[in-house]
């Protein structure tokens, strides 16, 4: 694993960008762009990252960005990819769509699925803060079972969609599920993805103090707890091979015991109603077990 000292010092996000204090997504994009470097074009649909760029005439990101409509990240990227191919620049320039979970799981799935099926040459990052963060935490397909959102005040009734696995089944060369709590793993994942060709889907669990209702200084701890309790599972699929990653690998191999689920649920205001209902906590846990079972099958075979 790369040492912190060996990470590049260049920053591709500006000081004074508009993210909330303690934003996990900006930790993620900071280290993803360090890996991709300045030969990168970004397309961003409506999401927190649209606002994080700040106010005209300034921009909080240091690389070219095409801001696009909510539903269209995959489609916009397809257009840019075709243009780069036409100019013969598709090898040298990294094209990345950077979208939230709403823009990926819900409104943008069709454009993304089409782009993947066409083996479009780009990286699609879904930074997943598990709700429509930019507009105040309405429920999305990525919102966890039982979690508060402003459109499910008494707790979401469905489990979140196993979206990364759905993307993996598109037969694309690379899929990964990682976390902003492990920036060095983020850096290494993008360094690997940068060298591959075709559609590469990377989903990053990005902690969100405003939305998950915890105190800003607990952001990294919250991301680690998600992995340590097994709620968020880190894995990658390269070609046909599935592998667990980092902490999740240690858990899968029994080297480390999963922390109790309550360690993760208790400190977050969004789970306040859930934890008062043992039956629903059990259903939450069943969802986690199901995901581990399926991923273990993928990794073993």
């Amino acid at each position: 694993m790369v040492a912190i000292k060996d990470l590049p010092r260049e920053e591709y996000i500006e000081l004074g960008h508009a993210a909330c204090a303690g934003c996990g997504a900006t930790i993620a994009i900071r280290h993803a762009l360090k890996a991709l470097g300045d030969n990168t074009i970004l397309t961003v649909p409506a999401c927190c990252m649209s606002v994080i760029q700040g106010l005209y005439p300034k921009n909080g990101l240091c690389i070219p960005v095409l801001n696009t409509a909510f539903m269209t990240a995959g489609a916009a990227a397809s257009g840019i990819a075709a243009g780069l191919k036409y100019m013969g620049k598709d090898k040298e320039i990294n094209l990345m769509a950077w979208a939230g979970d709403g823009g990926t799981y819900d409104i943008g799935i069709q454009a993304l699925s089409g782009a993947a099926e066409r083996q479009t040459n780009f990286i699609y990052t879904c930074y997943n803060n598990e709700a429509y963060g930019n507009t105040g935490m309405q429920r999305s397909g990525a919102t966890p079972y039982g979690s508060f959102s402003t459109t499910t005040p008494t707790g979401k009734m469905q489990h979140r969609k196993p979206f990364a696995r759905i993307m993996a089944e598109h037969g694309i060369p690379y899929t990964a599920s990682i976390s902003a709590a492990y920036p060095r793993l983020v850096y290494e994942t993008y360094s690997k993805a940068k060298e591959l060709v075709g559609t590469r889907y990377i989903e990053i669990h990005t902690m969100c103090p405003t939305g998950w209702r915890y105190l800003t200084w607990d952001t990294v701890e919250m991301g680690k707890l998600a992995v340590d309790t097994g709620v968020w599972i880190m894995w990658e699929k390269e070609g046909e091979e599935w592998r667990f990653l980092g902490r999740s690998k240690q858990i899968a191999e029994g080297k480390v015991k999963r922390k109790p689920l309550m360690d993760y649920l208790k400190p977050q205001g969004r789970f306040r109603t859930l934890i008062k209902n043992p039956a629903r906590v059990e259903e939450f846990e069943r969802g986690i077990e199901r995901e581990w079972k399926i991923l273990k099958q993928r990794v073993e075979c």
Binding site: I13, C23, P209, T216
Partner: protein, 98 residues
Amino acid sequence: MTPLKRDSPDRRVTCITYPEPGAMGRTGDWRIFRPIVDNDKCTGCQTCWLFCPDAAITMDKNNKPVINLEYCKGCMICETTCPVKAITRVRETEADIE
């Protein structure tokens, strides 16, 4: 085609923006708490640099963290992730207004 200058009129045909610090103004004003670094305790592991969401921490020539107070939002992630508790907090109002 020669690249257009940033503020030439042709560039104002639509909403073109350029990377610059302070796209959301002086975000240092948002702080409720301010991080204070104790250089003696600091071991130079750079964990604070790694996790800062605002890239507001740089390492000086002695490999000690320097926090840009014009833009640091006071999220205090550096405080909680520092393995040797070299960073502590003080309420912004009590800190000396630099």
